[in-house]
């Protein structure tokens, strides 16, 4: 078969296939959004489209509504996990999102299904990538109204990520499938989504050349601790006001967002290394990440 027709058929087949495991999500006034049946009993969507905590409805392809409950939210990455009684909507076929490359042809799908075609324009995940929230695929395609929470699929119809227009203005993004799976696993294991807690306030600082040379670091910025909450993991680990954190949990820290990137829900209970510059010498500390209490 000729190439153009083959590509066209492949794209249509991908929509067919992926259309089987998406649902409409009714969790805000007027405009519904899209959800992905990620694992049996768990539907994921974009957190910014879930404006209610109760009375959430999932709309199947036949138009029937199925009730769902909110199982967890991660506002930092704009992901909400909904729990649903087993229903006859297929479960998403998840691709290895680390295989996503700039220039790959992808489709975004909305409930219906409706489709949009484009390419991956950047793969972002480096320290300091706070402008879009880190660990995302940015897309050159149109996210039409109601697409948020829907899947980004490859030409084989496998899900590479969850699309959202709610994280950065003027940017169409997808949360990589690996990140979504990690959060869903966490909710399935604990029954809720824990918020990891360190207990510091920080600000970005420029590292003087003298310190960079002493530490043998290439990074030009780090964060300085401006507050340590009493009885927090940071306090127990010995962090003090004025400490300059250069790395946390093995990850380079260029700005405060890099701390948040490390503080994923699955880090709760883990012992993590903190490398700081204090006074005129480097120090290696350890903290045990806690779970933020509901009232905090």
């Amino acid at each position: 078969m000729d190439g153009l027709l083959a590509l066209s058929n492949e794209l249509a087949a991908a929509v067919d296939r992926a259309g089987r495991w998406i649902v409409g999500v009714n969790a805000r006034p007027r405009l519904g959004s899209t959800g992905i049946h990620w694992r049996q009993g768990f539907v994921v969507t974009a957190n910014h489209t879930v404006q209610v905590d109760e009375g959430i409805g999932l709309i199947r392809a036949d138009g029937r509504s199925v009730p769902a409950t909110l199982a967890g939210r991660d506002p930092a990455i704009d992901l909400a996990i909904l729990k649903v009684e087993p229903f006859d909507v297929g479960v998403a076929e998840v691709a290895d999102s680390s295989s996503a490359r700039v220039g790959h042809v992808v489709l975004a799908l909305g409930a219906g299904p409706r489709a949009s075609l484009g390419v991956i324009s950047a793969v972002v995940g480096e320290p300091g990538s706070h402008k879009v929230g880190g660990d995302v695929l940015t897309l050159d395609l149109t996210l039409y109204p109601g697409f948020s929470g829907g899947p980004l699929v490859n030409a084989a119809g496998q899900v590479l990520g969850l699309v959202t227009s709610g994280r950065a203005r003027h940017l169409q993004l997808a949360i990589p499938a690996a990140t979504v799976s990690r959060v869903v696993d966490e909710v399935a294991r604990r029954g809720h989504l824990a918020q990891a807690y360190l207990g510091v306030a920080t600000q970005p600082v420029r590292l003087p050349d003298s310190i960079r040379e002493r530490l043998g670091l290439a990074q030009e910025t780090a964060v300085i601790v401006t507050d340590v909450r009493p009885d927090s993991p940071a306090a127990h680990g010995g962090l003090s006001i004025g400490d300059v954190i250069v790395s946390f949990g093995g990850a380079t820290v260029l700005d405060p967002y890099d701390l948040k990137r490390v503080l994923r829900p699955d880090r709760v209970g883990q012992r993590l290394a903190v490398s700081v510059w204090r006074g005129d010498a480097p120090r290696e500390l350890e903290v045990v990440v806690a779970e933020r209490s509901a009232r905090a």
Binding site: L4, S8, A12, P113, R114, A115, L117, L141, T142
Partner: protein, 182 residues
């Protein structure tokens, strides 16, 4: 056929239509010396037509339906050349579509996208081919083809960034109703 082949065929049958007020639209050559277009493009009984090869022709309005937004014209003179096959089966969601028209006056411009959805935009509305496809003023009435080069619809308008096309089934129904056999 590759994309440039489909585009070249489509450009050959895409007509430029100028009404007495000077506004520019598009149309598709139809067998037996006819042109199909939108009613909102064909707003006068006589229209100036142009082909991609530079020929200028006169068109006379044969039938026009405001509600369907469709019109058919007859070209004065013969020997227009071959037309392109069409397909009244709705294209699949996700499949490629290729449009030719004159967006913002840019003659015979080609744009490519996919079928976004099929059906009405609002409950009870008319059925469209909704396309994730860049269209602009001047695309109206121009053909939209599938990856096999068959015409599947006529561009009609842009709504919330989507290109809306009148499905070929509606176009055929209108043309047959006007007593023209393809």
């Amino acid at each position: 056929m590759d994309l440039s082949g489909v585009a070249a065929d489509l450009r050959r049958i895409t007509v430029e239509i100028r009404d007495q007020h000077g506004s520019l639209g598009a149309g598709a050559l139809w067998p037996a010396g006819h042109v199909v277009t939108n009613a909102h493009v064909a707003r006068s009984p006589r229209l100036a037509l142009g082909l991609v090869d530079g020929r200028r022709l006169d068109g006379r309005l044969v039938a026009r339906d405001e509600a369907l937004d469709l019109a058919i014209l007859r070209i004065a003179g013969a020997g227009i050349g071959p037309t392109t096959p069409f397909d009244e089966t709705p294209p699949r969601i996700g499949s490629l579509v290729i449009a030719v028209g004159h967006p913002f006056g840019l003659r015979s411009a080609v744009t490519v996208g996919i079928v976004h959805a099929l059906g009405p935009l609002v409950r009870g509305g008319r059925a469209w081919i909704q396309a994730d496809l860049r269209l602009g003023p001047g695309n109206s009435g121009g053909p939209i083809a599938d990856a096999g080069g068959r015409i599947v619809g006529l561009s009609a308008m842009v709504m919330s960034g989507l290109g809306l096309a009148i499905p070929m089934r509606d176009v055929l129904g209108f043309v047959r109703g006007a007593g023209i056999v393809e």
